[in-house]
Symmetry: C2
Subunit: 589 residues, 2 copies
Amino acid sequence: MSFPLRNSNFIINTLLILITPLLFIISTSPTTTSSSPFPINVWPKPTTFRWPHPRRALLLSPAFSISSPNHRHLAAAATRYLRLIHTEHHRPLVPPPAALVNASAAPLQALSVHVSDLTAPLAHGADESYSLTVPAGGGAARLTARTVWGAMRGLETFSQLVWGDPSAVAVGVDIEDSPDYGHRGVMLDTSRNYYPVEDILRTIAAMSANKLNVFHWHITDSHSFPLVVPSEPELAAKGSYGSDMVYTPDDVKRIVEFGFDHGVRVVPEIDSPAHTGSWAEAYPDIVTCANKFWWPAGAKWEDRFASEPGTGQLNPLKPNTYKVLRNLINDVVRLFPEPFFHAGADEINPNCWKSDPTVHSFLSNGGTLSQLLEIFVNKTLPEVVSRNKTVVYWEDVLLSDVVKVDSKFLPKESVVLQTWNNGHNNTKRIVSSGYRVIVSSAEFYYLDCGHGDFLGNNSASDDQSGSTTGNGGSWCGPFKTWQVIYNYDIDYGLSEEEKRLVLGGEVALWSEQADGTVLDSRVWPRASAMAETLWSGNRDESGKKRYAEATDRLNEWRSRMVRRGVGAEPIQPLWCVRNTGMCNTVNVA
Amino acid sequence: MSFPLRNSNFIINTLLILITPLLFIISTSPTTTSSSPFPINVWPKPTTFRWPHPRRALLLSPAFSISSPNHRHLAAAATRYLRLIHTEHHRPLVPPPAALVNASAAPLQALSVHVSDLTAPLAHGADESYSLTVPAGGGAARLTARTVWGAMRGLETFSQLVWGDPSAVAVGVDIEDSPDYGHRGVMLDTSRNYYPVEDILRTIAAMSANKLNVFHWHITDSHSFPLVVPSEPELAAKGSYGSDMVYTPDDVKRIVEFGFDHGVRVVPEIDSPAHTGSWAEAYPDIVTCANKFWWPAGAKWEDRFASEPGTGQLNPLKPNTYKVLRNLINDVVRLFPEPFFHAGADEINPNCWKSDPTVHSFLSNGGTLSQLLEIFVNKTLPEVVSRNKTVVYWEDVLLSDVVKVDSKFLPKESVVLQTWNNGHNNTKRIVSSGYRVIVSSAEFYYLDCGHGDFLGNNSASDDQSGSTTGNGGSWCGPFKTWQVIYNYDIDYGLSEEEKRLVLGGEVALWSEQADGTVLDSRVWPRASAMAETLWSGNRDESGKKRYAEATDRLNEWRSRMVRRGVGAEPIQPLWCVRNTGMCNTVNVA
C-alpha cells in the first residue's frame, strides 16, 4: 500500500506541508488548520475544521459500528456508510506521513449519531448543520445534528476522514459545519437522450457525497416523453424512445426513495408549454407546430419554430390541453413528494403558436402572445399551488423579451424563478423584482457547453483555416471548467436584502450530446466545484479566492470519487498533486 | 426487438430513405447505393459498396462459421469475429424494415477468407485492400485479400453487416475496399496520467473496428516514466508513478501481440531530449533543469524552463546520456517489432539547457543550441536507423524557430516528420522539403483541447463577466468536434507530388486532463471521424463534403461501438437519427 517516492523533493514538500499550517495557526485563527493540501481532507470543505497539530490518526476497529436514532432514511444512510467506511480503503494520491497513524493505540470503536428533530422534512430550508467530534484518545466519535439530513452530511464527512488498508481515521478532529445555501443542485435532462435508472441513482449518490441536495430532473421535453404517467399512459407509450427507455412509477418511487436515503430532494420538471413536441405523439390536437422542420430554409432566426430541432408547444386555447395537464400534474404530485414542482415555461416560440389556426384567430382578435401564456399560467399554476407546491419556472416566464407573464400572475410566495441567461444580470433582475431565484447561469453552470454543435449538416465546421478561437460551434461555449464554476459568485452585485432571495444554484446537463456514457465525466468533478462554493464559499480566511488551494484537494476528492465508482474526469497530471505548487503559475495568478 | 414508432413521419421518412437511393442509382453510378442513412452501414464507409435494390438480408445460421488460412494473427481475428458475430445482436437505432430479412430462406452458413500473401508484414504500406461478397442466395460469403491485414479489415466489415436477434446479415452485397492513406493512427500519452493495460487494449480493439492501424504510444514524458526497461530498470522504478503504474515487458508483449491480432501497429515513442524530467529520478546527472519551477515569477514566456509544468531535458554533452539511451533504444527495439520508432524531439527549451554549467560553457565557447541538438541527433538517430527502423520526429526538429537540426542530418529515407502546429502550413513546409509527413495538427486532431487549463492557480478563471467567447483557458481550444475532424483535409493545398509524401494522420490525446475514466469518450467517436476521412475520404460522389450524410451513420456506428463496450460519446439526441434530416439546418449549410 505504499507509493514509491517519485521525486526527491517530495519529502521536502511534505515537510513544508507539515510546517506551513503550524505557522498559520500562530498567525491567524486556530480554526483554519486545513488550508494546506494535506492528503486527508473533506470536500466540500467544512465551515470549521479543527485538527490541531500534531495531527493524529488511529486505526478503525474491525468492529467499528455506527449507532443512530430510529429513522428509516437515516438508518439506510448509516448502514450504507458503515459498509463504505469498512470497505473503501481509499489511497490518498499523496500518502500521509506514516507516523500519523498510531497503530499501537486502541482503535476507534464507534460513531454515535444524535438528532434533535427526527420529524423535519427533506425540503428547502431543512437544517443541514452538524457537529462532528472524533476524540484524540479514540473510543467513540460523536455526530450531532438538528435533522436527519444534517446527520447524513456529517456521516459523509466522517467517511472522508477514513483511508487506507487497514482503515485509519483522523482523530482529534472537531468539525462544525453548515451550508451557505439551502439549494445545491444538479439538473439532468433525460428527454433528449435517455439515461437508465442506474445512472440516475449513481448521480444522486455522488451528489450526496458532495453534499448536494437537489436532483432537478428535467424529465420531459420535445424529443421524448419517458415518464410513464398512470392516468395518461399514452404520453410515454407513444412519446418515449421505446418501452425500454421509460421511467415507470416504480422507477420513480425507487429514485425518490433513494433520494431520501441520501438526503437529496428529487424535483421533477415537466417542461411546458414549450418543449412539448413529444406530447404530440399521443395528443396531436393539443400541440402546435409539432414535427415541423425547426428553421425553414431562408427564414430569419426569429422566424424559426423552436430554439433547436424538436418543435412543439402546448396550445393554451385547447380545453384538452388542461385535461391532460391536470391528470399529469395530479400523478406527478403523487409520484414526487418533494414540495417544489418545476413547470418549465422556457423558450416559448411565437412562430410555433402563430402557426396554429386557433391561436391565429385569437391573435387576429386582438389577443397577444403574452396573454396566451397568461391564460396557460393561470390555468396551470393554481393546479400545482393548490397541492401545496412551490412552482419553479425558468426565468423566461418573467424576463422574456417576447412572451412573458405579468408579475401579478406570479405570486412571489408560490413562485421561484431559475435563471440561465446573462449571468449576474438576470439574477439581479429577478431578485430585485422580489422573486426567489435559483442560479444556473449558462455561462458558468451549463455542463454541456463547449462540445460543439449537434446540427447534422452545419457547414461552418468545414473550415480548413484551423482557428483556435471562437466557441467551436457551441452556443454557450467554451467548456465551463471546474475553475470557472468554482469561482462563480452567485450573489455577485446583489444587495444584502437581494442576497436573501438567492436560494442557491444548480449545474445543468442538457443532453443533446450526453447520455449515460459521458454522464459521470460531464458532471464530476465540476459539480463538486459548485458544491463547495455553495456549501462553504470559494474564499479563504483572508477573503482571497481559494482555487489554488482547492486544486490539490479536488484532485484528491476526485480520486476518491473514482474509487467509489464515479467516473469523474481528471483535472491535472498526477505529477501535479505529488509535487505541490509545481503546476501553478506565478505570472497570471 | 421492435421499437415503437415515435413519430408519425417516421414511415414517410423510411419510404424516402428507400426511394432516394433508387433515384440516385438511376442518375449516377450504380456503386453508390449507400449514400442514404440506411440503418445497416459500414464505418468507415467502404470505397465501393454495392447492395442493390431491393435490399435483402438473411438470417445467420446458428452454425455460421468462418474458415481462414493458417496464420496465427488472422486465426485470432477470425475466432474473435466469429464470437462477435454470433453474440453482438446489435440493434440499429432505426429498425430496418422487417421485410428486409427473408426468414424463410436458408440462412447464411459461412464466410470463407482467402489471402494471397500470408507473409506480408504489418508495416507502413501493407496492402489493406479486400473484397467481400455476400451472395443474395445465401450459402457462403467470400472475403479475399492480399494480406492478412486486409483480411482483418474485411472481417470487420462483415461484422457490421450483421445485426439483430436472431442475427440477420445483409446479402447481395459486394464490397471492394482499400484505404486512401496507409497511416491512420491514435496517439495516447501515458506519462502525464497512467492508463491501465486494459484501457490500451480496449483502445486498440476499437481502433481496429474503425480500420485504424497505428497506435502511437507516447509512453514517457517529464511527468512519469512508466516503461520498465530491462537494461535500465531504475528509469521506471524511480520515474514511474508507482509500481502499480508501470508497463512491464510482459505488458508490452501483450499489447504488441494484441495489436498484431487486430492489425494495429504499436509505434513506441520515447520522447527526448526534451520532455524527460522523469528520467532525472534515476539519472539526475544527464537531465538539465529537472524539477525546476517551470515559469519563474516575473520571467517572460520565452524564459520559462518548459512549455508546461514538468521540466527536464537530456544533456547532449554528457556521455552517460548516450549510455542510457543506447540501452533504452536496444530494449525498446526488442520490445516493439514495429519498423517505426518515434523519437520525439519536440519543444526543446533553450533556457532549460542553458541552465546547465556544461551547456553554458559549450555556448560560451561559440557553440549554438541547434548544434547541441545536432550532436544529440547524430548520436542517437544512427542507433535507431542501424536497427532497420524509420525514425519519426515531431516537426520541431526541422521547423522550430529556436532549436532545430539542419536537414542534412535528417536523411529523408530514414526520417518521417509528424506535424502538429500551424495546420496546413507546416504540412506544406515539411513535404515541400521532401520529407514524409504524419499529420496531427493541434487545431484539428488534438483530442484533449477545449477542456480548459490545468494550472493550479490561474486567476484568469476568476471572471464574473461570463464571456462565452474565447478558448476557455485551453491553449488549443475550442474542443475539436467530430465535424471539424471529419472535414479536415490533410493534403489541403499540396501539389500531387507533395501529396504522395503524406503518409496519413493521427488524432492525439495528451493526458494533462485525461486518464482511463475519460479515455473512451475523448477518443470516440471523434477518432472514427478521422478514420473515415483517411480511409475513403469525406466527400460524396459529386465531390461535396458528406458530413451531413455521415451524421446519421456516425450516430449508428457510435451506438454499435457502445454495444461493444466502448464508451463513445453521443453526438445528437436519439430523436435526430430517428427523424432523419430534422436536426439539420438549411440556413448555414
